[in-house]
Each structure stands twice: as C-alpha cells, then as structure tokens.
Point group: C2
Chain length 413, copies 2
C-alpha cells in the first residue's frame, strides 16, 4: 500500500473511531432528556383529550395535518412568509452555501427538480468562492504577519544591536521566514470567535434566545451544518426589520467564510498529525533511513535534528541543493526540469521547517510539537523525491493554498 | 486591483446575481403552494374546533407543545429512538459531514456546548477526508483514462499505420497527453447519477417516497445541504432493518464523496469561465500583448492560436523555454530557482493547453470552447510570470489537486 492510501485509510479509521466516541457521548448526554420529553408530551396529550373529550384518533389526524403544514412553513405563531422574494432569497442562500436549515423547503415537484440543477451550479460556485476567499485571507494574513515580523526584527535590531553579528544576517532570517500554520490557525480562530460572539449578542437580543443557544446557532450555521432547530430572522416582525435582515446575512456570510478557512487550516494540522503517526508506525516497523543524512528516523534521538538546526543561519537555497548534488544540469529536458522542481520544493520544505523551527523556538513552544513539525516536514521530503514529479502532491486543497501563499508573500519582496 | 481580487469580486457579483434569479424563480414556483397550504390548514383547524368545541387558545397551546416535542424528536407516528447508540451515530455522521438534517438535535446545554467543540474537529477531519478522497479518485481516473488512451493509440496505430509518420510521434503524443477536466467531470457526473438512482430505488421502496422525492432527497443529502424535510431511516421498523441502515450509510457516504468531487471539478470549470470573462473584459478595455508573441489577444482572430497549434508535434519542453530565453543560468540562487520553477510551470501549462487542444480537436468540440480553454491557459501564463513565484497560485483547492494528479500520472511512467 502506498503512503497516500495509507494516510487515507488511517484518516477513515480515525474518523470512524471519532464518530463512535461521539455517538456514545451524545447518547449519554441526550438520552435522558429524550425520555423526559416523551413522558411530558404523553402527559400533555392525555390532559388535553381528557379535558376536552376529544377522540385521540381525530387529534392524531390533526397533529399529522399540522406536521404537513409545518413542512410548508406554517406555524401557530405566525412566521414571515416563506416564499416572498426575501424569504426565497434567504432560502437560496442556505442552498448554495449548503447550510440547508430546512425552515423553507420546496414542496412542488417542479421546485424539487429545479433545486437539483440550481444547487449543482450554485454549490460549485460557492465552493470556488470559499476557496478564493481562503486564498485571499491567507495572502492578507501572510502580508500582515510578515510586516509585523519585519517591524519586530527592526525594533529588536535597534535595541539589542549587540546580539546581531551583522545586518545581512537579519536580512537572511527575514527571507527564510514564513508565517506558521499554527499562527494562522490562531488568528482565524480568534476571528471566528469574535464574529460568533458579536453575532450571538445580536441574536440573543433580537430572537430572545439564551446566549449559549445563540452561540450554538452561530456554530451550526457558520459550519454549514444547519440543523434548523434554531433559525434566525424567522418571525414576522422585528424592531428595525431591514437592518436586522441585512446584519443577519452579513454575519452568516462572514462566519461561513471564516469557519471554512479555519476548518481547512485545522485539516492541515490534522494531516500533519496523520503523517506523524504514519512515520511513527513506519519507524516502529522498520528503521527507514532519514532524508538528509541516511540515519535512523527515531526523531526523539535523531542527530539530524541538531544538524538541521545548525543550518539555520545559512540561506535556505543551499540546503537541499547540497543534499542532491546534480543541480547544474537541471533545466535541459523534461525530467531534468522535473528534478529542478523537486529540488526547489525540497528546499522550500526545508525552508518551511526552518521558519517553523525559528518561530517555535522564539515562542518557547514545547519540544514535542517542534519535533512533530520537523518529522512531518522531513517525512514529506523523501516521499516526494520518490515517485512524485512536482512535489506539490502533499498540498491538497487548502494545504496547497497555504504553501503557495505563505511562500509567495515571504519571498517576492 | 490585481487579477486575483478581480476574479474574486466577479465571482461574488455573479453569485449574487445567481441568488437573485434563483429567489425570483423559487418564489414564483412555490408561493402559490404556500398560499394554498395556509388556507387548507386554516380550514382544517376551523373544522376541528367546531366539531369538538375546543377552545382555540388551548388548541394553540397544545400545538406549541407539539412543536416543542417535535424538537425532541417526538412525532405522532412513532419514530426510531433519537438518542440510542445507532440514532446518535447517525446524528454525529450528519454533523461531521455538515449535512445536518436536523431530525435529531441536542436539546441540553451540555450537548450544545459539546457539539461546538466536537464539530470543530470533526468537520475539519471530514474536509480533509473529502480532499484526500478527491485526490485518490482523480489519481485513479487519470490512470484509467491514460490506460484507455494508450490502448486506443495502440489500436489506432495497428489499424491506421499509414497515418502515422513514425512510432516516436505516437510516444510524444502520449507523453504530452493529460485527461481533460471535462472528461473527469463527465465521469464523476455519471457516477453521481448512478449512485443517486440506485439509492433512490432503495429509498422509494423502503420509505414509500415517490421516485422524484427520493432523487431530491439524494441530492439534498449528498450535497450536504440536508434540509431535513425528508430523512431516510427514521421509522421504527423496516423490513431487513440492519441491512437497510448499513446500505443507507454507505449510499450517503459514497454520494457525499462523489458529489463533493463533482462540485470541485465543476468549480474549476467555473473558474476557467471567470478567467475567460476577465480576459474578454481586459481585451475590450485595452489591447494587452499576448504571452507568447506579443500580439493582441482578441482570440477569435489571434494569430498565436495558429502558431500554437503548429507546435503540437514538438515535445512540450521546448515551448516555454524558447519564449523565455535565459534558462541555462537558472538554478544558482533562490530567485533563479524560482524562475526555473516558473519556466517549468509555464511549460506545463502550455503542455496542458496542447493536450486539451488535441482532445478537443479529436473529439470535434466546438471552436468556441477550444478558444475559451486556450485563452484561459494563455491568460494564466503572463499572470504567473509577473509576481507569483511558484506558479501554482492558480491552483486553488481542487484545481491544485487536478493539476498535480493529472500531470503526475501522465508523466511519471
């Protein structure tokens, strides 16, 4: 089994395990409430039939009819019309974003068939929109973080001049610098929390939900899960009607974009963890030679770790070129150009490792995390030099975006 | 405004327009039904209160209580328990996949808070799973399509030997060959339709839904919209209980993976269309020089088109190298390596264009589509040679996967 397949199967297994654990926990949390709710409803129904001497069968028929009416968006407490223009707009918004609250659903056959074709194009366009947004936001974050890093370097250089040997060393460390995935995750996480909290404040005041309910709604909506047990902007009348509807749309748009980006960044971290697990498994199975020095890959005692740290001050371009040798003959033919690409990527990965390294050290993050990152990066190295032609195979979805954007913004100045 | 931003804004504008049109159409389709349903419910409620002489206020209270009970998963017609282990498993499945039918939702505060943290990791892991699946399926498709292409070439070579000048020409065309995005889209589309139809047959027989309703459910579930107006496997008893639940889970898993891949492939086509629109807009604004020959870029009469077609028989490696010149000095320093990468990517894009070209010509697709593809590819060329260092910036999300996989499998033999 090749490594991509192994990673895929490992992930599938872990998700299955995660689902089983989640099912057990939710079952334990919610089952007692379900039993109580069932009893309560039975009691209420009994009371009603006894008091008004209604035939239970007739009442059941009425309740079935009410369920049917619910499906068409009718409630006892009057809601906003479902299929006026603004209601339909809210509906199509939940379709293309795949939130799908289900507070409004097409009931006619024509509507259902149209939905299939409408959703096919709409969802694809929205996925593209989210991906482009992800690209934009990461570019922006990388620029901002680089600017902050530059300022910090300059400020540090002005104050602690004695600790720097020469100004060119400073330039080098800036050139090799790239923002860390963990930093980006932190920023996106904070942004998501800020948006969710602001939106919750709005919702809890406008919808009379508790703050926890509002937060729960925000997560369910922003992550595009969209249960539909709580749906914002459904009542017929609110104070400052138009402004609330607009604010609701904007909050949901911002939230969905932000959480989508956050999910993708977290998925990169999960992928790194998977690589680390695979590496550990491979190490415990057989002693594979490590990418740069051919020694064993038990990272906790691997000497490469130290030697890689020593490379830190050198410009990153030298790193991989030295390992591979044959570089001057690179760009003649097709396969040679492929090799150049490979070398370039190898160097880039080394650069990334170094920058993460620097960031980690400067922030005094635990050694374990650092080693994870290092092993992941080094692990990608040998894999990509085997069968893969351009080395970007590791960059799936958001990972590719991250790699591109983070590298691009840190080098092209 | 740079081009990435322009594309993003154009897409946002088009999606807004799409939403407005969709809202108008859905409103027209569904509004009459809503009005009828409202009248019908009013009539039924009146009948009931008159017949059983029930106080309307008391009945409204009962109906509100029924709504509340509905939220806890209680219906008149007994459903499967919500929060036993299998019900909770179905629930967490809809959470991590972001389907979120909402047939089961956490009602306790502990459950809601746990859901936020559980969903955060679960959804990120599932996005990674979908991306890895996309990567696997495209690798597989590319291998299969290459194998078919090889067979066709060999078969064609055996029968029509006169039309080939030499066997090396055949090898060349195979090396430059890459499966078309449109082909992959077609295959994924067919696979999705097959899965949806098989699942619909199962659902319509087990759930007593009409076939259209079943198809609608399949689309809503597989696209992770998940309205929850129709939810499979909710009744308490089915024939062959366990087998149906398993089949239901497998169908939803396969469907979601397949439609996710299809959405991503469609989003690439949408991106190409956006690029084409931008190119057209830029052309009508000012006559920009085209990437390879410096002439105007009005594609319908552009002479580059012809000269590019003439390059077809040559190995793709020469194409871009000729255009750029300074290639031998490439791999010395950091920026030079970047240039090498750029040249490599430029060549790859040219190669891609040529392969699409060949495919299009051989399949006699209309010239308009061919020109769109050509202009899109040529359009990416000059952009990437400006500011972007590694040239993969065009490859967002699935696009990156497609580029990598399709190229990788067609070159590394």
């Amino acid at each position: 089994m090749n490594e991509d397949n192994a990673r895929f199967c490992l992930l599938a297994g872990l998700i299955l395990l995660y689902l089983l654990c989640g099912a057990a926990i939710f079952s334990a949390l919610e089952h007692p409430f379900e039993v109580r709710a069932r009893l309560l409803w039975k009691q209420r129904l009994d009371n009603f039939t006894r008091r008004y001497r209604v035939n239970l069968g007739a009442l059941h028929t009425l309740l079935r009819q009410y369920e049917e009416a619910n499906g068409a968006g009718i409630r006892v407490d009057r809601l906003r019309p479902r299929w006026d223009f603004s209601g339909a707009f809210y509906f199509v918004g939940t379709v293309v974003s795949t939130i799908g609250f289900g507070m409004t659903t097409p009931a006619t056959i024509a509507g259902k068939i149209f939905l299939i074709f409408y959703g096919l194009i709409g969802c694809a366009a929205t996925i593209l929109f989210f991906n482009l947004f992800l690209e934009r936001i990461i570019t922006m974050l990388a620029y901002i973080m680089r600017w902050c890093h530059e300022r910090r370097l300059r400020f540090g250089g002005a104050v602690v001049t004695a600790s720097r040997e020469e100004s060119s060393g400073e330039e080098d460390s800036l050139e090799g610098w790239k923002p860390s995935v963990y930093y980006v995750m932190l920023i996106l996480g904070v942004a998501s929390v800020v948006i969710a909290c602001s939106a919750s404040t709005l919702y809890s005041s406008m919808e009379n939900w508790s703050y926890v309910d509002s937060l729960y709604f925000c997560f369910v909506a922003f992550s595009t899960i969209g249960f539909g047990d709580l749906v914002s902007s459904q009542r017929e009348h609110y104070e400052s009607h138009g402004a609330y509807r607009l604010g609701n749309c904007l909050f949901i748009l911002m939230g969905v974009c932000c959480i989508y980006s956050l999910f993708n960044v977290i998925s990169i971290v999960i992928k790194q963890t998977l690589n680390w697990i695979l590496e550990k498994l491979a190490c415990s199975g057989k002693h594979r030679p490590c990418s740069c020095c051919g020694r064993g890959c038990l990272w906790l005692c691997c000497p490469c770790l130290k030697s890689k740290n020593q490379h830190r001050r050198r410009p990153p371009a030298n790193l991989r070129l030295k390992c591979d040798g044959s570089v001057e003959t690179v760009c003649g033919s097709d396969t040679d150009a492929g090799l150049a690409d490979e070398v370039h990527v190898g160097r880039r990965l080394s650069g990334e490792m170094i920058s993460v390294n620097e960031f980690m050290v400067s922030n005094k993050v635990s050694l374990a995390l650092l080693q994870k990152q290092l092993s992941e990066t080094a692990h990608q190295g040998p894999r990509q030099s085997h069968g893969h032609q351009n080395g970007f195979s590791g960059g799936v979805g958001a990972l590719a975006i991250m790699n591109n954007r983070l590298q691009e913004t840190s080098v092209d100045r």
